[in-house]
């Protein structure tokens, strides 16, 4: 029998604690869209996406009403375009990005991911063309997200690609300078990228995935924060247990919504991504959860331990609530998208080096960080290399989404708007890493045994 308190607590989570389904993301394979003529390839891409995702937004809205739960984003991910584009005789994949953008607009989704390349061990011709196309593609499109996987635990780190991506990020920032380098907010450099991630900007539809699939990303930092307010001063055992119980509820909601959506769309259900994804709204912050555990400001000593506990407890609580868990699953720490992180960075407490340490135990990596516009490509590449090394050695996904905001200096603020939020420009180390990056080649894959 239903209990009125359970019902009211669910509604309280939705109304006051920002509980929502962050995204339902439809993955669509474009492996059959290749063609030697790039225009034909672009048309095939547009046709396939708009056909397969025709009802995605409509079904999402129906389910929102029926369950009374907001589904904030409806999105699409596709096969990495470097693979599809490799069939074209062309030197630019920008027309394919434009086709993706047009398809996203036609379907009514706010982002489409998969302008991507997987180059952890080396680059094909298509991979180089894709990377070279990113700056122009980010300028020419509104909703397309790009990602490049430069390293993995099995393959090591492709330092040629790392060097290249530093330059690409700089160029993307310059081409979108009118919007504070907004193009870089839609560009992620990964190590150990996952094939079923529903979250942007890093979503793509991996080649090991079925023809189409539906993945769900849940959220709820506000709900966890509120739950922890009820256990002030109690030992960490209680904190972990409280987070687990909350994560269980959040994930169950994602599971039921995902199964229902996949049934109605006639698309197999993939995974629930058990993530705590913050937004710039007050009360929807991961940083504030860490502070609730007893830290004066996020970024001070103890932050990494607090985040480790949070990340692990979210997974433990969520795993039992869903029959398939995947994606990135953990706590995101995007600076510009988290009200508490922004405050901590502006106070000078949360620094890049501390963020890097935090990425060892969080779900992804250095996310939505603004750095001075005069930061060199080599320094950005070195930041990417550090982050990829953490991912490679710890067998986890790491990523860098960094905005070298043109013309901005430390202390300025970069405005992205909407869910992307705003970020204070953070200082980077001034000493050069140029010779390190100039070496190129590959960093070998790490040893996976003898771990004592």
């Amino acid at each position: 029998m239903l209990n009125i308190n359970d019902i009211l607590s669910t509604q309280d989570m939705i109304d006051k604690r920002h509980l929502d389904i962050r995204t339902i993301t439809m993955g669509i394979s474009l492996l059959d869209c290749g063609h030697e003529d790039v225009k034909t390839c672009a048309r095939k891409i547009y046709d396939k996406i708009t056909r397969r995702a025709e009802n995605l937004v409509k079904v999402g809205q129906q389910i929102e009403w029926e369950f009374g739960i907001p589904i904030v984003n409806k999105r699409i991910s596709v096969t990495p375009i470097s693979i599809v584009g490799n069939t074209c005789r062309t030197d630019s994949y920008v027309p394919l990005a434009i086709a993706m953008d047009a398809a996203a607009k036609q379907c009514g989704v706010n982002f489409i991911g998969g302008f991507s390349a997987l180059v952890q061990k080396g680059c094909t011709q298509g991979d180089w063309i894709l990377m070279d196309s990113i700056p122009e593609a980010m300028k020419a499109t509104e909703r397309v997200c790009a990602s490049v996987n430069v390293g993995s635990t099995k393959a090591g780190i492709n330092m040629d690609a790392v060097a290249k991506m530093g330059q690409i990020i700089k160029k993307t920032a310059q081409l979108t300078a009118d919007n504070d380098g907004l193009g870089c907010a839609k560009l992620v450099v990964f190590a150990n990228a996952v094939e079923d991630n529903p979250f942007m900007a890093g979503a793509f539809h991996g080649v090991g995935e079925p023809e189409t699939v539906l993945n769900v990303g849940v959220s709820g930092p506000g709900v966890v924060y509120h739950a922890l307010q009820g256990v002030k001063g109690q030992p960490f055992d209680v904190v972990a247990e409280t987070i687990k119980k909350t994560a269980f509820r959040i994930t169950r909601m994602g599971q039921i919504v995902g199964v229902e959506a996949s049934k109605r769309l006639g698309v197999p259900f993939g995974i629930v991504d058990l993530s705590l994804a913050p937004t710039p709204a007050v009360g929807d912050s991961v940083a504030r959860i860490l502070e609730e555990m007893g830290l004066e400001v996020c970024g001070t000593h103890g932050t990494t331990a607090a985040l480790a506990l949070l990340n692990d407890a979210v997974k433990k609580g969520g795993v039992m609530a869903s029959n398939h868990v995947g994606g990135l699953s953990g706590a995101f720490i995007p600076v510009s998208e988290d009200e508490g992180m922004i405050a901590a960075a502006e106070a000078g407490v949360l620094q890049l080096d501390k963020l890097e340490a935090m990425t060892c135990v969080c779900s992804v990596g250095l996310d939505m960080i603004a750095v001075p516009g005069d930061t060199s490509a080599e320094t950005i590449s070195a930041i990417i290399a550090d982050e990829a090394a953490i991912g490679m050695v710890n067998s986890k996904t790491t990523a860098v989404r960094i905005i070298p905001a043109p013309g901005k200096v430390v202390g300025d603020r970069v405005e992205m708007g909407g869910l992307l939020g705003s970020a204070p420009v953070m200082p980077v180390h001034g000493q050069s890493s140029a010779e390190f990056i100039a070496r190129g080649g590959r960093i070998p894959a790490p040893l996976q045994s003898l771990k004592n």
């Binding site: 239903l2 009125i4 359970d6 009211l8 809205q61 929102e64 029926e66």
Partner: protein, 89 residues
């Protein structure tokens, strides 16, 4: 299929009557009602059978939401299984 209707707002005459009349108009059968007044707020929970509803569920939920706004109340109609999922192992 069952759904849960929750009504929250300032207590006054005729809330239950108005909500039930609206539901009856769409052929929605009320199976169970419980209500309480918490901190001056009228809080009602109904379990209803929507299998004969003349409106698709999403539209029915929107109509009830609209009715709530007219009456200055929060009226929600949600599928029952979401609560089972979230609160039962």
């Amino acid at each position: 299929m069952k759904a849960v209707v929750t009504v929250v707002g300032k207590d006054r005459v005729g809330i239950i009557a108005a909500v039930c009349t609206q539901l009856a108009a769409y052929q929605v059968n009320v199976l169970d009602i419980s209500q309480t007044v918490m901190q001056g707020y009228f809080t009602m929970m109904m379990v209803v059978d929507v299998s004969q509803s003349t409106l698709p569920l999403a539209e029915l939920a929107q109509q009830m939401d609209e009715k709530g706004k007219q009456m200055n109340l929060s009226i929600r109609l949600q599928r029952e299984d979401i609560f089972d999922a979230m609160h039962r192992v």
